[in-house]
Amino acid sequence: MYKIILATRYLLKRRITYFAVLAVALCVFIVVVVMTVMAGLVNEFKEKNHRFAGDCVVGTESLVGFAYYEDFVKLLEQQDFVEAVSPAIKSFALKRRRGSEQDDIVEIMGIDPVRHSRATGFGDTLYYHKDDASKTFEIAYDANLAGCVLGDFMFLQDTNSRNLSETSLPRIAYSISCFPLTARGALAQAGTDMVNTKTFYYSDQSSAGLPRVDGSIVYLPFEQAQRLCGMGESTKRASRLHIRFKPDVKIQAGCEKVQSLWQKFRQDKAGETQEYSLDTVTVQSWKQYRRSSIAPMENEQTEMSVMFGFVGITTVFIVLVVFYMIISHKSKDIGILKSIGVSNIDIIELFSGYAFMVGIIGSGFGLLAGWIFLLKINRIEDWLFKHFGFQLWDRTIYAIGDIPNQVEFKTLAIIVVSAIFACLVGALIPSLQAARQKPVETLQVGQL
């Protein structure tokens, strides 16, 4: 009992303790804010990638695509673990806005908007057709025209306009030019007709929340993209299949099933004329498929964690120094306590309890301050932007609306436990030193 009383009194009476509490509070505050925001950014980024890709992607990076995809789609659609499958064409093209002299290299993605919306989160990224993806490529003012969907960053760069009418579609025409390739990868057409060009009209824009996607992709109707790329021959080809699993299916398990189906499918297609096009096809989970985008973000998060690991080590040293000073000051008390029968372990417990209180109170203040700051972080950023034009996170890189501020209980618990542990570690050496002190020496009564 005396340990609790003494530890509490030391905490309240020794001003130097306030510095230890402040140091812990500051460290916890910084870690809570940065880890919450960083974890929020990474999770949001991953979720956007997941929505963009679906659960699983079967495809090839080759521009010629792979054949017999329709058979595999049928096979997949028969599986009870598959919710939806969407074949897609992927290639590169030149895009020129009518009236402009400039050609831009873009990525084209041919999709069936309804199927693609079922397999991925595509439908939710649309501006005009969020509620009815079937009309994504329809041009309201002329049903005979072919529509295209631009990534919103690309559209913004094209038009320099943020303000879109909610009802009427702007009349903007784009000519899209592709080099059609054969299944072997040769140019499908020779001479002056080696390029396939078609005019598409702006029918919507997509905001996937992924800057690279929104800045470089033009979505086209599946069949038209297939023809533009030369994949619509008698043996049709596609670049990839986006798959969504049933809600109760785990991604990894689903991908493994697709993988085994694909292996069997490949065996079945042995000897077919375009069997070779299946060689480069891989089955990947959405995480593997988007690895190149996600990995840098995860690395950034890991680097942050390591950096804040150093912040934790700094806390240990601050607490160590403060406790060393406190215990040096309290050596007389240690002698007194030992003279009335207090054991070495009790002395360690006393100062560990003291450190524990510093950790608890420091973490408490840090958590509270961090939580309040996170609650207000978007308002603070708005204010900074309004008055100084300063943004904490560049939206062209992070593509976020609000700064993520959802505090996770698990993260908080880890931070608090780590802070308390750091305090205990910091206090350990001084406590052991205190316990080893001899009462006659600490009481300074060792007169000879």
Binding site: M1, Y2, I4, I5, L6, R9, Y10, K13, K332, D333, G335, I336, L337, K338, S339, I340, G341, V342, S343, N344, D346, K438, P439, V440, L443, Q444, V445, G446, Q447, L448
Partner: protein, 238 residues
Amino acid sequence: MSKDDFILKAEELHKSYRMGATEVRVLKGVNLNIKKGEFVAIIGASGSGKSTLLHILGALDKPTKGMVKFEQRDLSRFRAGELNRFRNRMVGFVFQFYHLLDELSVLENIFLPAMTGRSIIGWLVCRRQAKNRAKELLVQLGLAERAKHKPYQLSGGERQRVAIGRALMNEPRLLLADEPTGNLDSATGNGILEVLEKLNRAGQTIVMVTHDERIAQRAGRIVTLVDGKIEHKNTSNL
């Protein structure tokens, strides 16, 4: 006299310290017996080893050679836990510089030994009793009005009385006082000696260290320590 009447026996106590390359011999074969209910003053010049002897008698320090027996039990055979219990229950220390805990009130300082000797539950069970005992001691020592004060708010004499109260809290068999009046003016010191005399009359065994012969005269027996040895005992059979 039966040998059981001795509460404490020191036999051939030696204590030496190493100071750099030199070995300083502080005690050079001290033999001392303390009877139950005795008030013994150990007197000696500064550096004669009297405080060292007191610390060894109270198990705050260990002799280099020799043995201390407390109620027939050899202190050197005590384990760490037993030594802690011995210091908590069997002896009470009064130091020259009071050595009170500034963070605790006067009352808390007094009942501190009762608290340190018990677990949380043990303390919760007996705390009322312990607090009453501490309050009784405060009344006996004339500090009833000072219970809630902090040590730094008290005079030197009051602080020393608090230290005596703390030493007596667990009703120890032996009270060890190291220059209890050394930091006080003569009138205040006299008050402290009166307290010690009163305690001794009530049966408390006391060993007091002092360098002042007039103070030593207040004890029942004087032991003189010269150059690490007992030179003279005014009771021949001890």
